[in-house]
């Protein structure tokens, strides 16, 4: 058969042409497949929105393998270099401070908890309304556990949406007066998933320098231009905004955001929302507000900083909060206009790629909001407790209060810093340890991760709860006074 083909030149030419055509078709199809594969960012797993904008970003991110051509191969130098190379060790050597272990609780983290068999007064849990151990919460969680089990076994897009999630979202939206809300399964991931969904490369974000790590990480992942302003300083914010507006008169398509926290985790200060709103409207910025520590605390009915400052909630574009504080459950939520929330359902990575919140925690959130609405007295009690503690702590020599009198986080920092953050921290940890061991009052010094960019001073943080009694607060104040005097003298 081969002989016949070689004897017939026409057959040969036509078969050559056929194979050439086939080759061209193959290469074109390969090229087309490759070209369309490139932007799909094969690292992505579940159905997610990656729009045209991110196409370019992902493909230039080189998330698809390229052919390897090394000139060193020609000279056989690769083997030598590979043998010579010595990597650093995976982790730096362990120092003494890395070996310290936090205290282990043997009961619920309510206002009185048991550590090492002793009962202590607990100022380390952000249990602002005292809802840990509340019977209504435990009841609703138990019935949810018996109906749904513990986990939800799937992301929201693939049968992980349980009716309690939808009920919880509706309840939060109703409580705050916004059109819609979206639930996240972890408090920390709320901000660092919401920010990259809205802030993209080229956008401008003006952010306070004292924000917590979740927000910093979200901003880093969003690749926008980030400008910091001085912590809680409205003048500095005004100057930054004016400078920016003056420089970018023609950029109409540029999205601009201001990110602030209502009550700052790192210092206990409260953001002056009314002035921020005035500035925002003047310069056309969108505001992202993190209300983790103010939801259920500030305002006459606990609706947060907007109620406290008298600002209507629809002026804030995006409000997020972690539920692990006043609501005594886990997870987080984000609320805003319908457009904002719908957009996150497809583009927020922490929502799409992650399993949904366990149903019993969502039902705990609904019950917590019900309890808060029925008992506004909890908020007044919390305010009274905070004022009492302030009075008790305001005259400790060596420590000064850095937080706002109305904030539920009372932040004590050293009056005279030793000069290095590490030494400050070890002094404060010493004070906290002795207060726990000698007086059975549990307070903690704020620890910073090596990845945290915040440069605010470290301090001792006390979380006040509505369930604390007067004697608890007095005990804490006296104990801190005594131990600080001892430690700072030596």
């Amino acid at each position: 058969m081969m002989n016949e083909a070689s004897m017939n030149p026409q057959f040969e030419i036509s078969s050559k042409m056929a194979s050439a055509v086939l080759k061209i078709v193959n290469t074109t199809l390969d090229w087309v497949t490759l070209a369309l594969d490139a932007p799909s960012a094969r690292a992505v797993v579940f159905g997610v929105h990656i729009g045209g904008h991110l196409f370019v970003e992902w493909s230039s991110f080189s998330y698809f393998p390229r052919k390897v051509t090394s000139p060193l191969r020609a000279f056989n130098k690769e083997d030598e270099l590979c043998d010579e190379w010595v990597p650093e060790s995976l982790i730096p050597p362990i120092t003494e401070e890395m070996q310290s272990e936090p205290p282990v609780l043997e009961s619920a983290a309510g206002v009185h908890t048991i550590i090492n068999g002793k009962e202590v007064v607990n100022f380390a849990s952000a249990n602002y309304l005292g809802l840990i151990g509340h019977e209504k919460l435990l009841e609703s969680c138990t019935s949810a556990l018996e109906k749904y089990g513990v986990g939800s076994c799937g992301p929201r897009g693939f049968y992980g949406t349980i009716d309690v999630h939808l009920d919880c979202e509706a309840r939060i939206a109703k409580f705050l007066g916004t059109p819609d809300s979206i639930l996240y399964s972890y408090g920390l991931s709320t901000m660092f998933s919401a920010i990259p969904a809205f802030c993209k490369k080229g956008d401008v974000v003006v952010v306070d320098e004292g924000v917590h790590w979740g927000i910093q990480n979200g901003l880093y992942l969003s690749r926008s231009t980030i400008v910091y302003f001085k912590h809680n300083d409205v003048e500095s914010l005004r100057n930054t905004l004016e400078k920016f507006t003056a420089e970018n008169q023609r950029a109409k398509k540029l999205r601009r955001y201001i990110v602030v926290e209502a009550v700052y985790q790192n210092s206990g200060q409260i953001a002056p929302l009314d002035e921020i709103i005035r500035l925002k409207e003047k310069h056309r910025f969108r505001v992202l507000l993190d209300e983790s520590n103010s939801f259920g605390v500030l305002g006459s009915s606990g609706r947060g900083l907007t109620e406290y400052c008298g600002v209507p909630i629809d002026k804030i574009d995006i409000v997020t909060a972690a539920m692990g504080h006043a609501l005594a459950t886990e997870g987080g939520f984000c609320t805003g206009s319908a457009r904002v929330i719908d957009h996150q359902r497809l583009s927020s990575s922490g929502y799409v790629f992650s399993a949904s919140l366990p149903p019993y925690l969502a039902s705990a959130a609904i019950t917590a909001i019900d309890v808060l609405e029925e008992n506004p007295g909890l908020i007044t009690k919390l305010k009274a407790n905070t004022a009492l503690l302030w009075k008790g702590l305001s005259d400790i020599p060596g420590l000064s209060i850095a937080s706002n009198p109305e904030s539920p986080i009372v932040f004590l920092k050293l009056e005279k810093s030793t000069g290095s953050m590490k030494n400050d921290l070890s002094l404060l940890e010493d004070i906290a340890d002795r207060v726990l061991k000698e007086d059975s009052v549990f307070v903690v010094a704020s620890k910073r991760s090596t990845l945290d960019k915040c440069r605010l001073p470290v301090g001792i943080r006390l979380f006040v709860s509505a369930a604390h009694s007067e004697s608890d607060l007095q005990k804490a104040a006296e104990s801190l006074k005594r131990v600080t005097a001892l430690v700072l003298k030596s």
Binding site: P39, S40, A41, R42, A43, V45, G47, V48, G51, S62, Y63, F64, P65, V68, R73, E78, L81, C82, W85, P87, I91, I94, M98, Q99, P102, P103, L105, S107, A109, G110, L138, E146, G149, V150, G151, G154, F158, Y159, I162, D163, H165, L166, N217, K253, R255, A322, G324, H325, T329, E330, V340, L346, G350, F353, S354, L357, A364, V444, S449, L451
Partner: protein, 489 residues
């Protein structure tokens, strides 16, 4: 290996082309009518510019009812699906009170711990009453309870490593650990099909990232050799360290990673290995210890083992297991440990109880039975689907089974037709998978019985015939015919 027939490829391109054209025509109309209506956000740049959400508005919205289906019961083998309707072509979907009992082929409940369990649930309820649903505090402050300590010990023992650290969410585990372990001047080499949490963590770390072809150890070796000899880009200084990231089971392909070869290559070139066992822990291996056990790799050879508790253990959260020094260092620096609220105590208790059941420490052999059942179910289902002529991906023993659909119109059709016959399936399309390669993904569980699997096979076969997705042609019939012919001869 996916082999797509040419006709199907052309038909798929044509369908997508048609959808894009129609989408752009509708966008044009929207622009024209939009000029006349006023916008109350004057002066603000829109949240989504132009073509950024084109896919969402014009393509995804048509099939939106196939995703985010709410359920009203535990995600067990059967669940109650809440029916929804839409009056404005899928822009908003309203819930009704009607419920449909469906067979669940989509949830990640490989060992059947999703539903209330006779051993685990009473213990979880006890710990709820004792410790409350949350500690409201981070692990370093006041959030470490005896349950967390016990959990870490159990996880470390289960995996055969020295120590472990647990977090409240699996996604955050990857995103917060990678920046701590490696930074600028380091190199991350990751598989091309890795999960988004790994991508986010890698990007957040600031290290340089290179990708190797999915599950191809030879290409990994090439990339390693090239990168070590060339050094950092532009400066050519040697890399500080190299971390290779792979997953146990890839959830969109259903195949295992070639761990023995990859670990051997990493040892040879002194790179660190990071194994993400989100889907494989608890479900694979003779005693459920994951892909290391299945493929015969010593856990001590893998430097960092990561996993989640959401899939096989029926809870929530993630863990990292490694040497004692590694875990001590992570506890000192990892932001998720220092700042985030600690794991909910009932969830921790559920995991401890689930591990005890799997290891048989609760006094019964339910764990071993579950593992054997999920293996049998997966192998049976896969072989039956292949006999019917579907194109099924994935290795044997893997409970994740993608069935190729290719054409965009078949995606909602498959989902809706199966739902009409009371079987709930998961369909995935672009951009989670490449444009041409849309698929339906089946996740089996130990709680599926043989009858339920047979029913599911019947339904899928019917729908497959209706949609024409049996690309390989039913084989047994051909074999039977050949045998008959041989016998006649």
């Amino acid at each position: 290996m996916i082999t797509i027939p040419y006709v199907t490829a052309l038909a798929t391109y044509f369908s997508y082309g048609l959808l894009f054209v129609f989408g752009h025509i509708r966008d044009l109309f929207r622009k024209i009518t939009g000029c006349f209506s006023s916008n109350n956000l004057q002066g603000y740049a829109p949240i989504c510019l132009g073509n950024e959400d084109f896919y969402q508005r014009r393509l995804y919205q048509r099939i939106r009812d196939c995703f985010e289906r709410p359920i009203a019961s535990a995600p067990d083998a059967w669940f109650d699906l809440v029916e929804r309707f839409s009056n404005d072509s899928n822009k908003t979907l309203e819930r009704t009170t009607r419920i449909r009992r469906c067979l669940n082929l989509g949830s990640y409940s490989y060992l059947g711990f999703a539903a209330p369990d006779e051993y685990c649930t009473p213990r979880a309820t006890d710990s709820l009453n004792k410790y409350s649903p949350s500690t409201c505090s981070s692990r370093v402050d006041g959030g470490t309870t005896v349950l967390h300590k016990e959990l870490e010990k159990h996880v470390a023992n289960f995996l055969g490593k020295q120590d472990a650290i647990v977090f409240g969410m699996g996604y955050v585990t990857n995103s917060a650990i990678l920046p701590v372990l490696i930074g600028k001047g380091g190199l991350i080499i990751s598989d091309s099909l890795n999960h988004c949490s790994i991508v986010n963590g890698a990007r957040g770390s600031g290290a340089t990232i290179r990708v190797f072809q999915h599950n191809t150890p030879s290409h990994l070796e090439e990339v390693l050799r090239e990168q070590i000899s060339e050094g950092q880009p532009r400066t050519h200084r040697p890399w500080k360290k190299i971390v290779v990231i792979v997953e146990g089971i890839y959830s969109m392909e259903g195949d295992f990673c070639k761990l023995p070869e990859i670990v051997a290559i990493c040892k040879k070139y002194k790179a660190y290995t990071y194994l993400d066992e989100a889907h494989s822990i608890g479900a694979i291996g003779k005693t459920g210890r994951g892909v290391c056990e299945l493929l015969g790799v010593d856990p001590a050879d893998v430097d960092i083992m990561m996993g989640t508790f959401t899939k096989s253990f029926g809870s929530c959260g993630g863990y990292i297991a490694g040497s004692k020094e590694l875990i001590q260092y992570l506890k000192y620096t990892c932001p998720a440990h220092l700042y985030a609220t600690s794991m909910s105590p009932p969830a921790a208790e559920q995991i401890i109880s689930a591990i005890k059941v799997i290891l048989g420490e609760d006094g019964t052999s339910r764990g071993a039975q579950k593992l054997a059942r999920v293996r049998e179910n997966s192998n049976f289902f896969r072989s039956e689907l292949q006999k019917m002529g579907f194109e099924v991906l994935g290795d044997n023993d893997s409970p994740v089974m993608p069935i190729m659909l290719y054409n965009p119109a078949k995606i909602p059709a498959f989902s809706r037709e199966c739902l009409k016959r009371n079987v709930a399936v998961v369909v995935v399309s672009f951009p989670a998978t490449p444009l041409l390669l849309a698929r339906a993904r089946i996740c089996l569980s130990a709680s599926h019985t043989k009858e339920e699997l047979l029913k599911a096979l019947e339904v899928i076969s019917q729908v497959g015939d209706l949609l024409g997705i049996k690309y390989f042609g039913a084989e047994p019939k051909k074999h039977q015919q050949e045998e008959k012919m041989k016998k006649l001869e």
